[in-house]
Amino acid sequence: MSSATRPYLLDFYPLEDEKYTRIAPFFIHLRAGRLTTTKCERDGSVHWPPRVACPNCHGTQLAWVDLPRSGRLYAFSALYLGLPLGMEQDAGAVVGLVELGDTHIKIFSRITGRKYEEIHIGDAVELETFDIDDGRVFYRFKFKV
């Protein structure tokens, strides 16, 4: 999809550069193949998505920590009808909640590599990064072979 040619307010992907966001490190780590998030140095809570202040204790001393790159499908579906602008060509795409390692963190993601009819709850998936055509990077998961 061409994010570069779409008006910003119709672009789903977050702005990644430090000019626009204080969580630019997330995307720098992602470029290096790492899925990271913030952890509060005061109360120890791990956030998703990354934050600049802890929603639990409101502390602002946060550290970047790695999340597992692998997980299992907790629930899933597919996008057949009613896809948003810019995703019309993705009909049939699988999405799901991925339970990351043993963290009990479940994040919602696009999942590539198999059709809806071929997958089951509990299937193993792993992180996959991909380039957006204007130089940004983002993540999804793919089924483990």
Partner: protein
């Protein structure tokens, strides 16, 4: 606090309408003025407009003064738009209730409105994908259908709920809509077989499991206790309200199948209204998808956890059952013009108490009703309790 009465209601026709955002507002407003005795625009001191996404769907913001002008109202106490996605309309009613109960307003107009059918449907569905956490969930294609599809998948796995039980919700609500001339699916045939052979939107949800993109508006009038008799002999008394919100990003949801926030909001509503689930005659609940209504039976305490599928297939949510759910036709039968839905539910409660709705959906002797909207990924629940007697 002062007691608050809902004394009048009007609706536009809901559906795929050849009408603009403002024209729908005028249709609903005209109905309210035509059917509410002694209603004079000059007596309305406050206006609350429930509208979810006029910026995206009608390219218009600052809509409250637009509505005031369209309906000839000059608010002097409160004028504002209220936004809470699919619960915008009911939340606007809550604000009017609070304003009147506090004594800061005497006569408040609530308008709920959404114009969703655009020449480009993907543009309209884009406005649905930013209801979830756009940069982290919406970006992957997270809109309502795949989210509620996962709810259905897990509810089927954990509790044995079936596609046939989900279809029973849609069949019931479409049957009720057939007696509601303002409903999107009025006079349209619908059957379980048709639903179960229809295309998937997001499996296991088929098109008949999903509420529609709808154009529609509604208007209701709320007044202080001492003014109610000017407008009607039979108001719907607003007894209690509640809301609860416990997450936003899908990663922070406590459970797909046990809506903790709904149980909390329902508990608060019953406590504030000094009542319990078995005392509710009718419930207008948020059946944006068939599975939603099933989970809501459980969250509202109408049946034990996991038995929502059996509750509908046993007829317990139909006329003659334990509680009549969605006699208006629900979101499945009426359509779901986001900001208008909660207002449409309130209009139904008033019509039920006044026995002005069609006999085929009348809940005879109804004394107590609740309305429920979820919004987003069921991460907010909004409830109102109404009583026929003060």
């Amino acid at each position: 606090m002062r007691k608050v009465a809902l004394v009048g209601g009007g609706l536009s026709t809901w559906g795929v309408r050849s009408a603009t955002w403002g024209e729908l507002v005028q249709e609903a407003g005209s109905q309210l003025f035509a059917t509410t005795r002694n209603l004079d625009a000059k007596s309305i001191d406050s206006l609350f407009v429930g509208a979810a996404q006029p910026e995206r769907l009608a390219f218009q913001s600052h809509v409250a003064p637009m509505v005031a002008e369209l309906l000839g109202v000059k608010p002097s106490r409160f004028i504002r738009r209220v936004e809470l996605a699919c619960a915008s309309g009911q939340t606007a009613i809550h604000d009017a209730y609070a304003a009147i109960a506090s004594g800061l307003s005497d006569v408040a107009l609530v308008v709920g409105i959404e114009k969703m059918n655009l020449p480009s449907m993907p543009e309209a569905t884009t406005a649905m994908a930013n209801v979830l956490d756009r940069a982290w969930d919406g970006v992957h294609g997270g809109t309502a259908p795949p989210f509620f599809a996962m709810v259905a998948q897990r509810h089927m796995l954990e509790y044995g709920t079936t596609a046939e039980q989900m279809a029973a919700v849609s069949v019931k609500n479409h049957r009720f809509a057939n007696s509601n001339p303002t409903a999107q699916f009025y006079s349209k045939t619908f059957s379980k077989e048709k639903l179960l052979s229809g295309p998937f939107v997001s499996p296991p949800l088929r098109i008949g499991d999903c509420s529609s993109m709808t154009d529609g508006a509604g208007a209701v009038l709320l007044v202080g206790e001492e003014l109610a008799k000017n407008y009607t002999d039979t108001p719907a008394w607003v007894v209690a309200t509640s809301q609860y919100s416990d997450f936003h990003n899908l990663a922070n949801m406590p459970s797909l199948t046990d809506w903790v926030g709904l149980r909390k909001a329902a508990h608060d509503l019953y406590a504030r209204g000094r009542t319990e689930p078995t005392q509710i005659s009718l419930a207008e609940v948020h059946d944006c998808f068939t599975i939603s209504e099933i989970v809501e039976y459980e969250g509202l305490g109408f049946c034990p956890k996991g038995e929502g599928g059996r509750f509908v297939s046993d007829g317990q949510s139909d006329l003659g059952g334990q509680v009549v759910v969605n006699p208006r036709g629900g979101l499945l039968g009426c359509g779901h013009p986001l900001g208008a839905t909660g207002v449409g539910q309130a209009v139904e409660v008033l019509g039920q108490f006044q026995s002005t709705v069609a006999g085929s959906r009348l809940v005879k002797g109804a004394t107590q009703a609740l309305t429920h909207n979820l919004s987003g990924s069921a991460n907010v629940h909004t409830l109102t309790l109404y009583r026929r007697a003060n």
